[in-house]
Amino acid sequence: MGEMIAVHDLVKNYGEFCAVNHISFTVAEGKIFGFLGPNGAGKTTTIKMLTTVLDPTSGKILVNGHDPTRDQKQVRRSFGIVFQDPSLDDELTAQENMDLHGILYGVPHAERVKRIDMLVDFVGLGDRKKDLVKTYSGGMKRRLEVARALLHNPRILFLDEPTIGLDPQTRNHIWSYIQQLSKEEGVTVFFTTHYMDEADRVAGDVAVIDHGKIVAQGAPADLKERTKCANLEDAFIALTGHAIREEEANAMDRMRMMGRAWRGGGRR
């Protein structure tokens, strides 16, 4: 089995601040990989670099055998992504959102129609596909986003906290879709989450990142054994400590904060 994602000695600096500090890991094809860490540990920054929207400071990334900084289009065709925050157009229907995605990704018309029907049924939204997305609940939107991310037959699915703010029923639903998908179609899944029970249940392998460094890596069972903890949550806390982290500041916020400090005053 080949490596779908290979990261070697990856670094991302924002000025003095090091968001991602020399990390390396690989994800084998068809595996479900959990990328865990406290707020502000560097998870989203890493996903951004893997998904071509942020250039690394140094290091090497291969996604489906392509370098995100050079073969941007190849990499973008290889993955589907569900972002941390919603990214649907509320003023369009589910069907239109899907169709727009299919056209952006160059899915031919006949296949698009077929796959859209199949996928909205798969996530249980078949009878609501002609409704505007703004009439959907949070869970329905998430399910639609998962369906949309799969429309162009990606080899890899990135999920950045896909179940945040959802009730246990919906979380269960979403994970069972994803597990089924990984099993049936061999899609590689790379996800982040704060729910350790989810990671424990679905991930084949996990990596724990803290302060931009990977502090542990392996199967959830290995991590529990190594830390002598009964569950992954305790193992996670044993690895990353009890201190509560600052509110997650994304890369842009950090840049802005630095800019403000540097110019010695507020912009507005």
């Binding site: 951004k48 998904t51 071509t52 929207v53 942020l54 941007q72 289009k73 973008r76 065709r77 992504i81 972002f83 925050d85 919603p86 990214s87 649907l88 157009d89 509320d90 003023e91 369009l92 239109e96 169709d99 727009l100 995605h101 056209i103 952006l104 990704y105 160059g106 505007l132 890369a251 842009m252 802005r256 507005r268």
Partner: protein
Amino acid sequence: MKAIYILCLRQLKRYVRSPARIIGSLGQPLLFLVALGFGFRSMFARAGGGNYINFLSPGIISMAILFNAVFSGIEIIWDRQFGFLKETLVAPVSRLEIVFGRMLGGAIVAMAQGTVVLLICVIAGFRIHNSLMVPLAILFMFLIALLFTGIGTVFGSVLQDMQGFPLIINFLIMPLFFFSGAIFSADGLPKALQFALRLNPLSYGVDGLRGACSSVFAYGMATDLIVVTILTGILLGVGSYFFSKIQL
């Protein structure tokens, strides 16, 4: 090419589905048309200016286009806040296609809104002098729409949130409108103000549209067309540049 088409179509759909926006953005031009048009009509005629509604209407149409076009560009901020922008930025299409689709869609929406205002002006008594010039009028409307969608795109790409929006309206869009010759002619203005009018890209758009409607151009048809076309080209380029620099 298909990406341009679908993103353009998306904006048209959003426009058609939002009657509140269609009606809401008619309010201001309508107010100006009625208050100024009928308020100053007799004074304008007595001063020998002729039919003020005929003079004012192209200015009011330009105003509707101006506001809607800038707004369409600024919608990028909304798409950033509501997340849809990310969906387009990780798709395997170039930023240029995305921004062209957006700008084209925005310009068409602004044009549509300008056309509605045009019809209202006709009801208020506005007459086009030579119907053969209508295609030229439409061309000028489209150029104004593209030009200001480009400007809106620059601001939409640079600003992170909507807080700067009133600033742009009050310190850029309103002055551009008032000092464009939309509501008064440049003749008899103080020299400094005449110069300001000359520097305002909208002046040439308004004059072109007014000329196409009345067959009388203040700056000359060729000048209007060349200036507006070149500026539109530049602004589309600058807008695309800033859009391509957006960081998620």
